[in-house]
Symmetry: C2
């Protein structure tokens, strides 16, 4: 297979792209070989070489432990559990949490055969004990799998001495009541202040 076809096929497999958008990208890159194509190829090579999963929390970073785990300015007694690095980055963007993280690597799903041992839940239990964590915030999806996972983790931490909390349910900020689903409206009513 030639270099053009191969590049199109690899790009077409990326999330959100297909054969036509991949072809458009390849032509765009070929027209700007030095200013766009080479820097992108080098950036992806560097990504593959330099970035690793943090052995403590599961975040991606160029150092291990990652900069969040290594930081002296993050509160060690607060641990926020997320399902993947995308969720961790979303919380960092929001800038509301100054503790540290634990990435489970997914959610429990008996139907898909995802058990606690497939996730980084045993490591979480060990960390909570070893690091003297006072509060574990379960920032997991408000879906069946997310809540099942949260429940399982809360049980597993029951005698750890740490308090376990969950993100609140309610209206999204800027959300319009008319377009909310019934479950969210009910949760927002129950948790009214």
């Amino acid at each position: 297979m030639d270099a053009i076809t191969r590049a199109i096929e690899h790009l077409a497999r990326l999330p959100g792209l297909g054969p036509r958008s991949a072809q458009r990208i390849v032509l765009h890159l070929l027209r700007q070989r030095e200013s766009r194509l080479r820097p992108l190829a080098e950036a992806l090579t560097a990504l593959a070489e330099a970035v690793r999963a943090c052995s403590v929390c599961g975040n991606f970073d160029t150092t291990d432990p990652c900069r969040i785990c290594a930081s002296e300015r993050r509160q060690k007694e607060l641990l926020c559990v997320v399902k993947d690095v995308a969720d961790l980055w979303a919380l960092e963007r929001a800038g509301v949490f100054r503790g540290r993280y634990h990435v489970t690597g997914g959610l429990l799903s008996p139907l898909d055969g995802v058990t606690p041992d497939d996730l980084r839940i045993p490591q979480l239990v060990n960390r909570v004990r070893a690091e003297g964590v006072r509060e574990v915030i379960l920032a997991l999806d408000a879906t069946v799998e997310g809540q099942t996972t949260a429940h399982y983790i809360a049980d597993a931490l029951a005698d750890s001495g740490a308090r376990v909390s969950h993100l609140a349910h309610g209206m999204p900020v800027g959300g319009e009541l008319e377009f909310l689903d019934d479950g969210t409206i009910a949760a927002a009513f129950r948790a009214r202040r």
Copy 2:
């Protein structure tokens, strides 16, 4: 800047992508470093190394002249003029043309300061004479710039001995009359068979 941020920034500049989709792609690639990230980085490096613009027609290929120009099975007396390689590939996909191509590299646009010398029009005139081309098919956009460019090229080839033709106007195959613009309806009427 670190490797993750740099990869996201380079991907976010690609057509059709933005910061959020670029971040999603980087996480997707990091989760599958060996099966996805490295092959993509290598494919893009190979693209930068191996692919060149054909010095005859302007197509992108791993050989120069490109495989279409070098092929003995393409009719040398038929030349199809397109504005860019994306249009050339679209015609190759349709599989209706067995001659060779000439990529102008754009369309005339006095307002944007694009003159005939900015495009590969002098090279086109030379090719038509030197290669004994019998027919030049102008497969240019049905826009003001496309038609201005077609007009200019037809003039430039007036005493070359080659016949100059244009793609037909009319209804797109599968198109619904109700949704056609007036100009297309008028053109389809005039060219009725």
